[in-house]
Amino acid sequence: MNIKKIKSEFPIFKQKINGKPLVYLDSANSSQKPKTVINRISNFYETEFSNVGRSVHSLAVKATNRFEDTRDKVKLYLNAKHREEIIFTKSATESINLVASSFGEKFINKGDEILTTELEHHSNYIPWYFIGKKKGAVIKFAPVNEKGEVEIDEIKKLITNKTKIIAITHISNVTGTIMPIKKIIDLAKEKKIPVLIDGTQGAPHLKLDMQNLDCDFYAISCHKMYGPNGLGILYAKKKWLDELPPYQGGGGMISEVLKDKVTFASSPTKFEAGTMQTAEVVGFFEAINFIESLGIKNIINHENEVLEYGIEKLKKNNSVNIIGDPKNRGSVMCFTMKGIHPHDIATILDEDGVAIRAGHHCCQILHDKLGIPATARASIGVYNSKEDIDVLCDAINNCKKVFNI
């Protein structure tokens, strides 16, 4: 892959940060957007904009077609079986809230158990915490081991006949652990327990195949997949679409509204209340095009090369402590430095144009378990190269200088 060329497709890299070229290592937070995506959004607003699905005039027709074309594109990309399994939301967070609320209200009762892990992002914990509180259900956490992995045996041990759903991340946004979700789903299927995968970090970095994976729910953030802000996806297996009650109420999601009786549209409309993010959905089409034009397999190979190079190089630095050592790691490197707080690292790195994130990355339970309040995180996107890692490592050494270490 020609990374220089790829980078040149992202306008953000034209600018300097503090006089230095931007080294963007914060893609796990949000990825940058290629020009095709940005232009598609402008162009849509300039020539095709209208509200979707509600008017019959020419603009509305165009907008509606573009909108639904993206749904078809996502269906193909995820290898989902049915287009109505693709529901647009505002974020992965909302996708998970939707399931926790709709599934939880109907199927979770007092004394039931929700099985999750210590790795989870708050977005895959707080929604379950809410429904747990409300219904008197218990949340069980499969523990993380010293490598930052959650062993499948630990999950097996925690499954009981009260387990109503398993909610689990695909890739940890802290340790980078790629979870053996296929095995977990197979295990759960034996026991007839539905599984939600928080695919926020998985979707941008792995090849996805919903029919092969056979999970019940898969949550995606489009803004981490080179797509627009403010858009998420929920894949929900067909068997749940009629089963689950709607989530939000409003325009579009109804079939018939009487004062005493309301009936609902079928999926996906049922779950898409109110005016949708048309421009964002239309723009996301180009994000998938971008990924497909490179080939997800090529992206994975390239990212893994950079990742391995990064891990090797960081390991050689005595002052750096890498968080987690999972066998399968995707795109994320969290680390700490003795005597320098991650916040200070991030600030000093920024002086060299290196953008990373510092904090608990919305994984406080995991950080508590690791016994550290915060970590510094460098995360990789398709536009990153080994040279970026070199700049990162030089900047890390500069931290030591600033702190006289």
Binding site: G53, V56, A60, V61
Partner: protein
Amino acid sequence: MELKELYQEIILDHAKNPRNKGKCENYNHDAKAHNPLCGDKVHIYINLDNNKNIKGLSFEGEGCAISLASASILTDILKGKDLSFTKKIIEDFLNMLKTKSKITLNSLSEDQVTTINSLSGVQEFPMRIKCATMAWHTLLSAIENKNT
């Protein structure tokens, strides 16, 4: 002008004077449908005899010219036909609107072919295709829904 294609004489005539409106006698199959975005409604009634012939066929409904004409034309053409022929016609009709082809089934009279084809103007108006197809989809459901 495409509008003329859409609102042909035949269509307007069927829309203003829909044939077979109401519940047909001794109907034993029925189904209804509803487009929540525009409020179009249709209810199809079939009297299917033991030989799988459509003895009676009628509809109730409200909606735009296209949806009324479509339902009216459907009942007019399929009344008296047998089930397998009916299914074939439905399939052909839905295909016509999808692939912009015309219908040329031999067992229809020339008049009937002209009538059905009058609905092909809808091809150029994607937002109206549902108006034209709703009755036909509902007929399919009705065939499957054995009534009381």
